[in-house]
């Protein structure tokens, strides 16, 4: 199944769930060595939402994000992306899914050190179907003056903002952020989160942020708290707070 059929870029917010997750589970290893990372997770994620997954180390939040991002396959349950069974997709289809539908932001930025900021973004726009110009993506994260610098010449926050520009330049339907501020100080973290929030607001991209920092919960539409591989608690904010209003 072609995931792109379900992800025309810039599609408006729809009531239909982008992800439908039912009884999702993931077990690593077998027999005595088996480790249950995720068990019986149910949730629906909708277009335009900003969702925060909270949890301590080993709670299963990264496993859930990896499954949503097509980096791994579940061992049980159902995982549907726009009606397409992501849980049973083949390797090549997952690659295409990541390429066309998902933007990733990682804790350690994962920029290509031999490419400038602009080129790191262009790397993705070259293979995307309907990308924005790299300069436009960099402008959205406020990095226009630093576009021609190499990662080694950028601060941590700047590097993370390049990573965000790279993730959104393809106009993905989903933006997955794995501890995006984990390696940053508070002040720098704020600029990064502002960029994420702005992207979500202006592009309407379903954004999932995982963090162990409970403060971030208030910037989300919905918050899920994970523990022992299960969703222990879910909460919907009546109003989203701006990043600068959060109590750091």
């Amino acid at each position: 199944m072609n995931p792109s059929a379900h992800t025309p870029a810039g599609q408006p917010v729809s009531a239909e769930a982008v992800f439908r997750v039912r009884n999702l589970g993931k077990v690593y290893g077998t027999g005595h060595a088996a480790v249950r990372a995720l068990a019986g997770v149910d949730l629906d994620l909708h277009a335009g939402e900003l969702v925060v997954l909270l949890g301590a180390s080993g709670s299963g939040k990264s496993t859930l994000l990896n499954l949503l991002g097509g980096l791994d396959s579940p061992t049980e349950g159902h995982l549907h992306y726009r009606g397409w069974n992501l849980g049973h997709a083949a390797e090549a289809a997952l690659t295409r899914y990541r390429r066309e539908a998902v933007g990733f932001v990682f804790q350690f930025y994962n920029l290509i050190p031999s490419l400038t900021a602009r080129e790191n973004v262009a790397l993705i726009t070259e293979i995307a179907r309907n990308p924005m110009a790299p300069a436009e993506a960099l402008a959205m994260v406020g990095l226009t003056p630093r576009a021609d610098h190499f990662p080694a010449q950028l601060s941590g926050g700047e590097q993370q903002r390049v990573a965000i520009a790279r993730a959104i330049a393809k106009r993905p339907e989903v933006l997955l952020c794995d501890e995006p501020t984990g390696a940053l100080d508070v002040h720098t973290g704020i600029t990064v989160l502002e960029a994420i929030q702005r992207i979500n607001r202006e592009l309407g991209t379903l954004t999932v942020v995982i963090t162990h920092n409970a403060v971030l919960a208030e910037m989300a539409d919905r918050v899920f708290t994970l523990s022992d591989g299960r969703i222990q608690n879910s909460h919907t904010n009546s109003t989203r707070r701006s990043v600068t209003e959060l109590a750091w």
């Binding site: 690659t95 390429r99 994962n110 993705i124």
Partner: protein
């Protein structure tokens, strides 16, 4: 087993294919070195033992005829230990089942005693009885070529009289370890053989009773060979001596010496290249491994392990690779050496040629490889050891890049992103890139060498023989005859064209250097024997002066325009100073050419010829051959195609075998280098590549990023490698070319294309193997760990 050793084993298991690639390259170098050094040892040992046991003489001379009393005079000369005077005559043979006549050299055996010197080794059968008639011993090379057994008979024309000789035994002789017709550069065991008969019968047939025409002697301990040769020459001068010479000019011994020289050349150049590449690869692998284990090393140090213990751990790592390579190399060298020893028995007839492993070379090579590997390891360990544990436990700072040179000069817009990444990577680590490039260039270069040998042989086989020697057959007379003999040759059935030639033994002298050989007199307008220069142009022999083969001119230190003293060693023995007018390019032996009329004028014996070159109509070939067999005055028949076939069968085949071995090794090395480079690149960039996969790049796209750098380096290395290979081929040819056989340096487009194809294939194949490992990239893990 200590836990560090357990770690070592597990690390090795994880790195096994790279470790094997390095060990393979090392094994190739060592195998070649051990093979060649062992062959040298085997040949040298066999030769020394054989010469001693069978009392091979040290000084030799041929003459026209001298009474036996002269031998006693020679024996009495100071410095002479033992003398053997005998009779040796060249005859025409009629071998059953062979259309063309063959040539035999019959030597005399003393009638009532064992030979003092040059004793034959009896392989099968028995010696002819004392005073036996019509019995002969035959050399093993000739009997093998004709499947002759003791009891078989052959016909020979002894001084115009046809006799049937019964074969009593099959022998070897230290004088004929390499058995080729006198003056012939290449062996043809079908058309030339060596025989022994009792002296009385042989001397009687050639009217040499109580006389001898060849003498061999050994030197007393401490005697000067030079002084003895001079004294022997003085004694024999009145008897038509062709001049005495030592072992170093003995036609058989010189071939064994030459072969050893060739092997010595090969035992150095090739292995040096291979072992250098292996050392570089070990360093690259170990350097990368140590960089990857930076944090582990820091932890070990934090726990109290000393730099020495950690260093030793990695040294052991390198040693496992070296030991594996050495063991494989020794085994390969031993296996190939044994095979080649069998092949050498085709050329060199020793009673036994046992393979002997050159253990000294082996130890030296293993030590050299270990040392080269250790230098790299110690350097890398020192860099890590210099860091404090706390600093080393922190990840390495991010690599800093800048726009590549090509971008700075403004041509970047033509390149894609992944190409730019590759360029910047190369520029960031210029030393590593240069070394990889050099290794790839070496891989390309070493592929050029063996094929240039093959092309050189083909050149000799197909070009030189057809261009310079166009006769079908060469007939020589027992004694130089009058010009009308040419008319007799011309009247043989089927002869289309006939050209006379004159061959005269001479000494060429300039300053303190001198050389004895036969000067060839050929008609100035010869169509059949053409003298060719280095540019493949025909040299027209002028009415004055001499044309020398380049090898001879080099040997004597002469160039065109110089003069050389030419002393004739027979007849009236005239001596003249003649100008060197040109240099000829040929591939075997040494030669001097003169216009035949000029040579005859110099000799002052009137117009005479030594033989004739003939072209014969193909349809009347057998008719021609049977007529020649019954021509009493003809002493030698050389059929060009037979010589060429023999060359193809023996020399070409053996060089071909060595070429195949080297080519296989060169190919293996090319694969090893490329694969290793790709793997190192993969390990260095695993995180970057995993990121690209996560971002939605397909395996193919990530693969192209991975191999882009390798492709660029290969593209740079290929032309450099071709140039390097051409130089290496030239250097190796110069080192292995001998006076007896010289391969021309022939570099063909197909040779270059082959080298490029192999390295390109190796690159593609290794890249594909490395790309397969992209499947094993830990996508999630790469996002977590910073390095």
């Amino acid at each position: 087993m200590s836990l560090l050793d357990l770690k070592l084993l597990r690390d090795l298991r994880a790195l096994k294919s790279q470790a094997l690639a390095v060990a393979l390259v090392m094994a190739c170098g060592l195998a070649m070195m051990i093979m060649t050094r062992s062959l040298i040892l085997s040949l040298d040992t066999a030769r020394t033992g054989y010469y001693e046991r069978h009392r091979f003489a040290e000084v030799f001379s041929s003459l026209k005829r001298a009474p036996k009393s002269v031998a006693a005079q020679i024996a009495a000369l100071p410095g002479v230990a033992a003398v053997e005077a005998s009779v040796a005559m060249q005859v025409t043979l009629d071998i059953p089942g062979m259309a063309e006549p063959a040539t035999g050299l019959i030597n005399s055996l003393p009638d009532r005693r064992e030979p003092i010197l040059n004793r034959p080794y009896l392989r099968t059968g028995r010696l002819p009885g004392p005073g036996a008639r019509n019995e002969a011993l035959v050399s093993e090379a000739f009997s093998d070529a004709h499947h002759l057994r003791p009891g078989d008979s052959i016909s020979a024309i002894l001084n115009g009289r046809k006799v049937t000789l019964r074969i009593a035994g099959i022998v070897l002789s230290p004088q004929f370890v390499f058995e080729a017709a006198p003056g012939a550069a290449l062996p043809d065991n079908r058309s030339f053989g060596v025989f022994w008969m009792r002296e009385e019968e042989l001397a009687e047939a050639f009217n040499l009773e109580g006389a001898f025409n060849t003498v061999a002697l050994t030197l007393a301990p401490g005697a000067s060979e030079r002084a003895v040769i001079a004294a022997v020459d003085r004694v024999l001068e009145p008897f038509g001596s062709l001049g005495a010479h030592g072992r170093k000019d003995h036609p058989s011994d010189v071939r064994v010496t030459d072969e050893i020289r060739v092997l010595k050349g090969l035992s150095f150049g090739f292995p040096l290249v291979f072992l250098s590449v292996a050392a570089f690869m070990t360093n690259a692998v170990m350097g990368r491994q140590i960089a990857l284990q930076r944090e582990q090393i820091a932890i070990l140090k934090a726990f109290g392990f000393t730099n020495r213990q950690i260093g030793l751990h990695f040294v052991k790592f390198a040693l496992v690779i070296v030991v594996t390579g050495t063991l494989a190399g020794v085994f390969g060298g031993w296996l190939l050496g044994r095979k080649l020893v069998d092949m050498y028995l085709l050329f060199f007839r020793f009673p036994a040629l046992d393979f002997q492993l050159a253990t000294g070379a082996l130890v030296a090579a293993a030590l050299a490889s270990s040392a080269a590997a250790l230098v790299g390891v110690i350097g890398a360990v020192r860099r890590v050891a210099a860091l404090s544990p706390a600093e080393a436990m922190r990840p390495e700072p991010p690599a800093s890049f800048r726009p590549a040179f090509f971008e700075r000069i403004g041509v970047a817009r033509w390149f894609g992103v992944s190409f730019r990444m590759s360029l910047r990577n190369i520029e960031r680590k210029p030393v590593q890139a240069a070394l990889t490039c050099a290794a790839l260039a070496l891989a390309t270069g070493i592929l050029v060498i063996p094929n240039s040998f093959r092309d050189g042989i083909n050149h000799i086989l197909n070009f030189q023989w057809d261009v310079s020697q166009r006769q079908t057959v060469t007939l020589s007379l027992v004694e130089p005859g009058p010009l009308r003999a040419l008319a007799d040759f011309r009247s043989l059935p089927g002869v289309v064209h006939a050209e006379s030639f004159r061959s005269v033994p001479v000494e060429l002298r300039t300053g303190s250097r001198s050389r004895r050989l036969a000067v060839s007199g050929i008609p100035a307008d010869s169509h059949l024997a053409r003298v060719i220069d280095a540019n493949d142009r025909r040299i027209i022999l002028p009415p004055q002066g001499v044309v020398l083969s380049k090898a001879l001119a080099d040997n004597l230190g002469l160039k065109p325009g110089d003069s050389v003293i030419l002393r004739v060693l027979q007849g009236k023995r005239p001596e003249r100073s003649v100008p060197v007018v040109a240099l000829a390019e040929d591939f075997a032996g040494v030669a001097a050419y003169m216009d035949m009329e000029a040579l005859n004028r110099l000799l002052g014996e009137g117009d005479r010829l030594s033989g004739a070159r003939l072209t014969v109509a193909a349809g009347r070939w057998s008719e021609f051959l049977s007529a020649v067999k019954n021509t009493p005055q003809s002493a030698g028949v050389v059929v060009k195609e037979a010589v060429r076939a023999s060359f193809r069968r023996t020399t070409a085949e053996s060089i071909g075998l060595i070429q195949m071995i080297y080519l296989t090794f060169a190919t293996a090395v090319a694969f090893g280098i490329v694969y290793n480079s790709a793997r190192i690149s993969l390990s260095e960039r695993a995180r970057e590549l995993a990121t690209l996969r996560v971002l939605g790049f397909t395996r193919g796209e990530v693969g192209s990023v991975l191999v882009g750098e390798l492709v660029i380096l290969t593209l740079v290395a290929l032309p450099a490698g071709l140039v390097l290979g051409s130089f290496m081929a030239k250097a190796i040819l110069v080192s292995v070319n001998t006076e007896t056989v010289r391969l021309p340096l022939i570099l063909t487009p197909s040779n270059y294309a082959f080298a490029v194809l192999v390295v390109a294939t190796a690159t593609a194949f290794s890249a594909a193997l490395a790309c397969r490992r992209l499947n094993q990239l830990d996508l999630v893990g790469a996002l977590k760990a910073i390095d």
